[in-house]
Symmetry: C2
Subunit: 211 residues, 2 copies
């Protein structure tokens, strides 16, 4: 996934000669704490946050050029770089947003922390049953019921708690991937559990085929 | 995972009688765009963001009480609620932060979008080789080399591109779970690939055992 697939193309920007009070009203209206400062060719030249704005208002500055943060202080990302770099920059620097540039240093979008949260949380919201369906699809000759039965066996073996295949099915239809990895103690453990189920049904399938 | 495990216990707060200019300086210093307003018992009574601060400064208001957002406008989360609710609230409402309360409505922490990004991105950063190691652990009697060989076979079958077991191993040591699910086209497909590898090695293992 590239930065340009994650960015928001709809953003406000200002110019260095803009009045601070005017800009503060715009930022309040669109509810953005940060804003790129562009030249007449839409190239990035600086950055303002609400922190510069409050300081500027307090100190009676007039234009954005008096308060903006210079280019060398801004972390940017090229539109064709991996989106992952924006995710890591946001996590490591506590950013709320960062500007996305094209090869000509024109700002083409903004990547925001909340949009990253939305993207990443989509993965967490996938139902565990969807993963089982992919497993059923992959394992030709293994039925859904066999998968549920094997899962109930593996679950009892791991947790010591007896569970019926029907209860297990209900659980995976209600729980998400995010919940499952938190419950099992991590991604690797979650996959190990699924592989254990796979091992059981595959061994049975191979056994049947050899009879 | 509960909200209290995700929240930051270290946060600034203000009281309704605080001076707006003073609060704006504090928020600039600690680089926070939002701030809870607490009463003398640390109970949440209101919320301020940089938007209220800039408006207040422009309109020459004096104290936080004149500009703060009332309790009914604030989305909160109880410390014992699932962290997931904070993640969804952040994604759906474009929040940068939300306050975490205990049962007495005392603010005990703040959950921030950037902290959620850090948490969620940790999962994405897990090396694919770690998942293979969990698989090797789980599948007693299957060696690492057998796993790599089976993976090269499955990879060639899926992509049509020939790859050696050594190349495959190098790839999974360098690539992360996040990259893998983006490359394969989603969590379910990534997992289906792993199950295909599992199927191959397990069939071989069962075959060996029956000889």
């Amino acid at each position: 996934m590239k930065a340009k697939e994650l960015m928001d193309r709809d953003f406000v920007y200002v110019s260095p000669s803009d009045d601070i009070k005017k800009v503060s009203k715009i930022m309040e209206e669109v509810r953005r704490f940060t804003c790129p400062v562009l030249d007449e060719n839409n190239k990035l030249i600086a950055w303002v946050t609400s922190f510069e704005i409050t300081k500027g208002l307090r100190e009676n500055n007039e234009t954005i050029s008096e308060i903006m943060s210079p280019l060398e202080d801004i972390v940017t990302i090229n539109e064709n770089e991996p989106a992952k770099r924006a995710v890591l920059a946001t996590a490591n620097n506590q950013f709320v947003s960062l500007p996305v540039l094209n090869d000509d240093d024109v700002v083409v979008g903004i990547i925001r922390a909340c949009d990253i949260v939305e993207l990443l949380s989509n993965l967490y919201e996938i139902k565990v049953s969807k993963i089982y369906e992919a497993m059923e699809d992959q394992l030709k000759g293994v039925t859904w019921d066999e998968l549920m039965e094997a899962s109930a066996v593996v679950s009892r073996r791991t947790t010591g708690v007896k569970i019926t295949p029907e209860q297990y099915e209900k659980n995976i239809r209600n729980s998400t991937f995010g919940e499952a990895i938190w419950t099992t103690g991590g991604l690797e453990k979650f996959f190990a559990g699924l592989i254990a189920v796979g091992e059981l049904v595959i061994a049975r399938k191979v056994g049947r085929a050899r009879k």
